[in-house]
């Protein structure tokens, strides 16, 4: 595994990439002479990513530097997971909630950008100001166009397309700025994206 995948790098395709590289890949169960309970090998597997031995039931690699998500053990039934102890059920619930939250956060460009800012300790705060005036004029103008075109489908579609294009443009800018690690500009563009999403939601 290349070293950069050890840390959780957030990119636009991070979620897909992370999940699509997971292929079932069990290396356990060679010895037929022993019963499963006697054989410690059956209770362990090797991490698909770093090859460290880990528990078969592990959801993430237990190696402290790898921590990569693991495939699902095909020998496990739903009952194994969900009728186990209360503790196991709770943890299963927490894992799935956490992963769902991660997925939802990263799939949307705005929440992804805000999350990246949080990781960089540069969250957008309530009392933050700024944004350049020309951009605010544009936003105000688009809001007013939406308001005045109520009922007129044609002009709504036009405004919607303008906003969509701007969102794509800002999202592309963010990818580039992320690659350049330009946190300050990333912050500014995220704010612009926030205004645009707000506009989109008002239609």
């Amino acid at each position: 595994m290349p070293s950069n995948s050890r840390t959780f790098k957030v990119t636009h395709s991070a979620v897909n990439a992370k999940f699509s590289t997971i292929t079932p890949h069990f290396k356990a169960g060679e010895t037929a002479s022993k019963t499963p309970k006697d054989c410690p090998k059956l209770l362990t597997m090797n991490c698909w990513s770093c090859d460290s031995p880990i528990k078969r039931s592990a959801i993430f690699c237990q190696s402290s530097y790898c921590k990569t998500i693991q495939p699902i053990d095909p020998t496990k039934s739903y009952f194994d997971v969900l009728t186990g102890s209360k503790k196991i059920q709770n943890y299963a619930q927490m894992q799935s909630t956490w992963l769902n939250k991660a997925y939802d956060t990263l799939k949307n460009p705005l929440s992804r950008a805000k999350y990246i800012l949080k990781l960089k300790s540069k969250d957008i705060k309530e009392e933050d100001k700024a944004t350049d005036n020309d951009f605010l004029f544009l936003i105000m103008d688009l809001h007013e166009q939406i308001e005045s075109s109520s009922g007129d489908d044609k002009s709504i579609v036009q405004v919607k397309n303008i906003i969509k294009d701007l969102i794509s443009e800002k999202t592309a800018n963010l990818s580039l700025l992320f690659a350049q690690n330009n946190v300050n500009e990333f912050y500014n563009k995220t704010i612009e994206l926030q205004y645009l999403y707000r506009l989109m939601n008002s239609i």
Partner: protein, 138 residues
């Protein structure tokens, strides 16, 4: 203007609700008029935008104010109240209006204080725009 849903209605103070339902001084002035100052501000965290305009006479008194806000009930109420508050004031008096005065009048909860700050910034920004124009005209 969109009606607030029942649930969010219940969360607003009656004074906020009153300004939201019957906003004072909504409108647009000609921003190229030399006697008009335009303040345009936004809240980066939520994407609200607020425009406040003042018309100033030769004695430096604000004789009219108009606003337009795309935002939550508290942001609309804050700008509506601010537009009422500044009418008749001299620009130097208006400049000193603090967001706490707006928040107090509307009984804004702590999570909505930033809406009153936005209104304070809008007043200051409109006054600055007016002054800048006057300087340029000299």
């Amino acid at each position: 203007m969109l009606a607030l849903s029942q649930t969010s209605k219940a969360n607003y103070h009656p004074k906020v609700h009153d300004h939201y339902e019957k906003p004072r001084n909504v409108g647009l002035m000609d921003k190229n008029d030399p006697n008009v100052g335009t303040g345009l501000v936004g809240a980066p965290a939520c994407g609200d935008v607020m425009r406040l305009q003042i018309k100033v006479d030769d004695n430096g008194t604000i004789i009219d104010a108009k606003f337009k806000t795309f935002g939550c009930g508290s942001a609309i109420a804050s700008s509506s109240y601010a537009s009422e508050l500044i009418k008749g004031l001299g620009i130097d008096e208006a400049k000193n209006i603090k967001n706490t005065a707006i928040a107090k009048e509307l009984c804004l909860p702590p999570v909505k204080l930033h809406c009153s700050m936005l209104a304070e910034d809008a007043i200051k920004s409109a006054i600055e725009d007016y002054k800048r124009k006057k300087l340029l005209a000299l």
